[in-house]
């Protein structure tokens, strides 16, 4: 699925007001994967699924691509239980066997090195979406510091119990689907993206199929 993540369309086709140099960036979603009997997801901050809120495309500066594609990934669990960390940035959000990484139980993180500080418009992430489950205490942070000690910007936080120590999260937990979750990076400039979780509503494991970060290379 290389180079399939993005498709660019002319802004002339859009009716909403946009900046002159912006284009529509469409996200390519993998096929739906629900199988089996899901474990009932129970989280205090679990949102009700609302298909109308799914972000399928967004406006971004011309030249915007997935700058995370093929970039190196590190993790608090350097030897995943299933799969390799490279799967997280291989442009393939499929939920099939062989397409996802399973990390150790409990609080874990993965970190993507964009190899250059880049202004980011959106971040799209897919945890394991073969079962209807929600991931717990999801936090997404951006920084130019590889150790995330300084200059850290939190762009998503559903950690209502403050497991990771970044404060009580206000964002909702959500049921994973093939649409993943598209987060507003708010034009934050950063070289590193770090994503945290603390298991899911089916088991203690942490999973990722894919993480994509959208920005203009070199900017």
């Amino acid at each position: 699925m290389k180079n399939q993540a993005l498709a660019l369309a002319a802004i002339a086709a859009l009716s909403s007001p946009v900046l002159a140099d912006e284009v529509e960036v469409k996200i390519e979603f993998p096929k739906p994967m629900f199988i089996g009997t899901p474990v009932p997801a129970k989280l205090p901050n679990l949102e009700q699924p609302d298909p109308s809120k799914i972000i399928k495309s967004f406006m971004a500066p011309a030249g915007t691509v997935n700058v995370a594609s093929g970039k190196p990934v590190t993790s608090s669990d350097p030897a995943p239980i299933i799969g390799e960390l490279e799967l997280i940035t291989d442009d393939d959000a499929d939920g099939s066997d062989g397409c996802f990484v399973e990390l150790a139980p409990g609080p874990q993180w993965v970190q993507i090195d964009l190899e250059a500080s880049t202004t980011l418009s959106k971040i799209a992430m897919w945890h394991y979406h073969k079962q209807a489950q929600a991931y717990v205490a999801v936090v997404v942070q951006l920084s130019d510091d590889t150790e995330f000690k300084t200059g850290v910007t939190t762009v998503f936080n559903s950690d209502i119990e403050n497991v990771h120590g970044f404060g009580e999260g206000k964002d909702p937990a959500y049921i994973e689907t093939n649409h993943g979750r598209v987060i507003d990076a708010k034009g934050t400039k950063a070289r590193y993206i770090r994503l945290y979780s603390n298991g899911n509503t089916s088991n203690e494991m942490n999973h990722y199929c894919e993480v994509q970060a959208f920005g203009v290379p070199g900017k």
Partner: protein
């Protein structure tokens, strides 16, 4: 005892049985209770199930290493041992592609669990036994009777404890049925048995190959696999496995032998590749093409002390209708049992008063609580009103319908709840036997399992010949 009291006490008694097994083991030998260093060969679904089952055993197991040619399966099992079985692990669990290397580098391994495809059971069991290990090998013993026979010989030629994974032998509920209901004659003379494992098409689909996870051809070839597709779906090919009648049926056909402590005298079987024949499916796409029959029906005859007993068995992979269970039907009552707690009913024939068996703190039976749980089976019903629409007939038909139907049976239940995974008591039984170095402690030794293997695999001779097979005593001897 009423159902409320039963529910209050059965959880304790169910767990108590399990604990009692361990305590009895500890009391029987000086070495009982010691920790056994264990390894697992084969990290697929069955191997992982053994890992999960063993996680509920609190002491006595220490996982040291695993071996599997496929890292995609091997790594998750080894790492889950470190996380989920951590009370059974000290340090990392070593991983190996080759069994020989694992055994050479870890002489401290005392017991090996084998959960590979069936054609590797015999060679790996012999290898481990000859290196002085004890072995727990998954059923079916082998995909061939010759392979199973060699396993019996390997067991005799070596000193290791050798258990086969027919886990119902250690299930307290099954033991209760055999020891306290069948042997005590509650069902009267059992004339017929019925068993089935029906699994629908959705659950019988071929397994695909995960992205970028193909095993090198030379490695596959070394272990006899013709392709990655065959490696993934080995159960459907005679070169590696025994098909559904072996994978699923072996558990239940084995129960006919085990419950009545005998072997059949004859067998007739019918079946074939009825569905997975490569022809277009409902979606127009070609279905999988398998070699071994996807549907098999067997009719066994046993000669018990009380007379002939006929036992029918079916394994269907084209319907999930009514799941999997076994039924024992006697002139005084019937029993339905399964690893699934859904099926645990015992029914008294009219005239059989079982109230005496429900007395005391350790009852043999408890009264069934409601009609809901028995909805698939024997309906206690009012013969007055209401009647089903199908009974709304007149004249001769009505008279015949009422007169010839038996009175409904009286529903009871088996008061044993297994609160651990179905494989857990069997793994525990093996570990206890290894701790004590006592083969007699095993609930499923290799010779018992061999007889079941013969009982099942002879079905293929019937399918080939189309004739009834008459067992000889030699069939069950090694």
């Amino acid at each position: 005892m009423d159902r409320r009291s039963f529910l209050r006490t059965s959880a304790v008694s169910g767990a108590g049985l399990y604990i009692a097994t361990s305590k009895s083991a500890i009391a029987q030998g000086e070495q009982a209770g010691r920790t056994i260093k264990c390894a697992l060969i084969g990290c697929g679904a069955q191997g992982d199930r053994l890992r999960v089952a063993s996680s509920q055993i609190k002491t006595g197991i220490q996982w040291v290493a695993v071996a599997d040619i496929w890292k995609y399966n091997r790594n998750p099992v080894a790492r889950r041992m470190e996380f989920e079985n951590k009370h059974q692990v000290e340090g990392p669990v070593a991983q190996y592609e080759e069994v020989e290397e694992m055994l050479d580098k870890h002489p401290e391994i005392e017991a090996v669990f084998i959960a590979t495809p069936d054609h590797l059971h015999a060679p790996f069991s012999r290898l481990c036994l000859e290196k002085g290990k004890s072995v727990y090998c998954e059923k079916m013993m082998s995909n061939t009777i010759e392979g199973a026979r060699d396993m019996v010989k390997a067991g005799r030629e070596n000193n290791g404890i050798f258990q086969i994974g027919h886990q119902r032998h250690s299930n307290p509920r099954y033991i209760h049925l055999r020891e306290k209901i069948l042997k005590k004659g509650l069902l009267g003379r059992v004339t017929h048995c019925y068993g089935q494992w029906n699994r629908g098409v959705a659950a019988s689909q071929p397994l695909g190959i995960p992205k970028n996870q193909t095993i090198p051809a030379e490695m596959l070839e070394k272990y006899g696999f013709g392709s990655m597709e065959e490696f993934r779906n080995w159960r459907w090919f005679a070169k590696y496995g025994g098909g559904p009648i072996s994978d699923l049926g072996a558990h239940q056909i084995d129960m006919y032998n085990w419950m009545y402590e005998t072997t059949p005298v004859s067998l007739f079987a019918a079946g074939g590749v009825d569905y997975y024949d490569g022809t277009p499916g409902p979606d127009g796409e070609p279905k999988a093409k398998f070699e071994l029959p996807d549907n098999v029906m067997c009719l066994y005859e046993y000669q018990t002390k009380e007379g002939v007993m006929r036992a029918y068995y079916q394994v269907l992979t084209t319907t999930g209708s009514q799941g999997y269970y076994e039924k024992h039907m006697g002139v005084a009552g019937s029993a339905i049992i399964s690893e699934s707690p859904t099926y645990n009913q015992v029914y008294a024939e009219p005239g059989s008063d079982w109230s005496q068996y429900a007395m005391g703190d350790d009852p043999i039976l408890v009264k069934a609580p409601d009609a809901v749980k028995n909805k698939f089976w024997e309906h206690p019903r009012s013969w007055a009103k209401p009647v089903p629409k199908s009974y709304n007939v007149t004249g001769v038909a009505k008279a015949v319908a009422d007169a010839r139907e038996s009175k409904a049976l009286d529903p009871w239940e088996i008061p044993v709840i297994l609160e651990v995974y179905p494989h857990t008591p069997h793994v525990a039984n093996f570990i206890e036997a290894v701790q004590m170095k006592k083969p007699a402690h095993l609930t499923c030794n290799v010779m018992d399992a061999f007889k079941s293997c013969v009982t099942v695999l002879k079905a293929y001779e019937c399918l080939e010949s189309g004739q009834k097979y008459i067992f000889t005593p030699e069939d069950f001897q090694v």
